[in-house]
């Protein structure tokens, strides 16, 4: 139970406070390119979660006998291998999704977030902690993909998961599924996320001050 308590903060920071897309602004290419429908976004999110978690575990296991000088090539090869596995699995069992994601699936290899987590976290921590970190970052990424793709699908085609959700006469705003809509939406989402985090920090500061006052009196 203590172990879980220790792992929870490592996991949960990826969801919001250090969300890879909204806060760190890393790995944006896929977030914009494949989020035209929720299904595509979700597939991409799960693939990245799988890759980042497995890679973190692999890196943290081999970290003690990899010479620091060649660590980046080693990490890249490890990531590329895991991505190839994911590619083959998707191609075999979900050919439609494989086609829809196209080249962006292969490009998971060069997502900055995966290499960054390996370098910043997994190369300094044990397998269990690295697993929690990778899984948290992956979930945060998936969450961001879900939010972006849901907004784009509802406004851009008037559907959610392929089912019409808006009233019958709704005229889809085509721009949202085209590239410009994605850029503009991300801009506003980043701003919203920043405001939310700033507000939370302010509240935390106020609470701290009140506690200090309470302690004095």
């Amino acid at each position: 139970m203590d172990k879980l308590k220790e792992l929870w903060p490592i996991y949960s920071k990826g969801l919001m406070a250090e969300n890879p897309i909204f806060i760190l602004a890393l790995s944006l290419c896929p977030a914009l390119a494949v989020t035209t429908t929720v299904v595509n976004g979700l597939t991409m999110g799960l693939t990245v979660t799988f890759v980042i978690t497995s890679n973190n575990v692999v890196v943290s296991i081999v970290r003690s006998f990899v010479n620091p000088k060649v660590r980046v090539p080693v990490y890249i090869t490890s990531i590329a291998t895991i991505v190839t596995v994911a590619q083959l699995v998707l191609q075999a069992y979900f050919p439609h999704l494989y086609q829809a994601l196209g080249i962006y699936l292969a490009l998971v290899v060069v997502f900055a977030i995966i290499l960054a987590r390996a370098e910043v976290f997994a190369s300094k921590n044990g397998p269990l902690r690295s697993f929690a970190d990778g899984f948290g970052m992956g979930c945060g990424f998936t969450l961001a993909m879900l939010i972006i793709s849901a907004i784009r699908e509802v406004i851009g085609s008037g559907t959610l998961l392929g089912q019409p959700v808006l009233w019958a006469g709704y005229d889809p705003m085509l721009m949202m599924v085209l590239p410009p809509g994605a850029f503009i939406l991300i801009g506003y989402l980043v701003a919203a996320c920043k405001t939310w985090n700033a507000k939370r920090e302010r509240e935390a500061a106020v609470r701290e001050r009140e506690q200090e006052k309470g302690a004095e009196s």
Partner: protein
């Protein structure tokens, strides 16, 4: 000839890699704060992309395909482009220190970048001939250069604008990129 021209113009403006395919966004937003750095980055990306496309094409059609191991394409291309860029950096550092001072830092940034990996992958996926691959790579590189230079000139003007606080920094950059992308959509009916 017309075929190559179509491919070239298509790669530069109509299917602009940054603004319609979202590739290379990390460097696009990272570097475009500064105009002269953007010019350097555009040139570095174009030359690296062309050379790594040629290399990847040769490896794919003379090694991977005859051996029947095309499922290894992703791994091989990543290692190939990353090591090629590192090698190039060493050579330039030794042979042309002046050039290295100008561009060296950008080379490190593009060692593992989606745009440098995507072009060789797209080349072999669409079964382009060697000459077509080269034309496509140069076109894509110039398209990236055009986008990043435009963006940098716009962002320099932003310094004088009164941007709402939450949008400052990356937020307004995204919206600006959206506007640029909207403008580039206008080219889509051209060919």
């Amino acid at each position: 000839m017309a075929e190559y021209l179509t491919l070239f113009i298509g790669a530069v403006i109509i299917n602009n890699f940054v603004l319609t395919k979202f590739l290379g966004l990390c460097i696009f937003f990272g570097i475009s704060k500064n105009l002269s750095a953007s010019v350097g980055m555009g040139m570095a990306v174009t030359s690296v992309m062309t050379m790594s496309s040629i290399l990847a094409w040769i490896v794919y059609f003379f090694v991977l395909e005859p051996l029947g191991v095309t499922f290894l394409t992703t791994i091989v291309f990543v290692v190939l482009t990353a090591s090629f860029v590192q090698l190039l950096e060493l050579v330039i550092k030794k042979q042309a220190p002046a050039l290295y001072n100008m561009w060296g830092i950008y080379l490190l940034l593009i060692a593992t970048n989606c745009i440098v990996l995507a072009v060789p992958l797209l080349n072999v996926e669409s079964n382009y001939s060697l000459l077509k691959s080269i034309v496509f790579a140069i076109g894509s590189g110039l398209g990236f250069a055009v986008a990043i230079i435009l963006m940098a000139s716009l962002r320099e003007k932003l310094v004088y604008a009164d941007v709402p606080k939450p949008l400052q920094g990356i937020g307004i950059a995204f919206i600006l990129a959206g506007m640029l992308s909207l403008a580039f959509l206008g080219f889509s009916g051209m060919l």
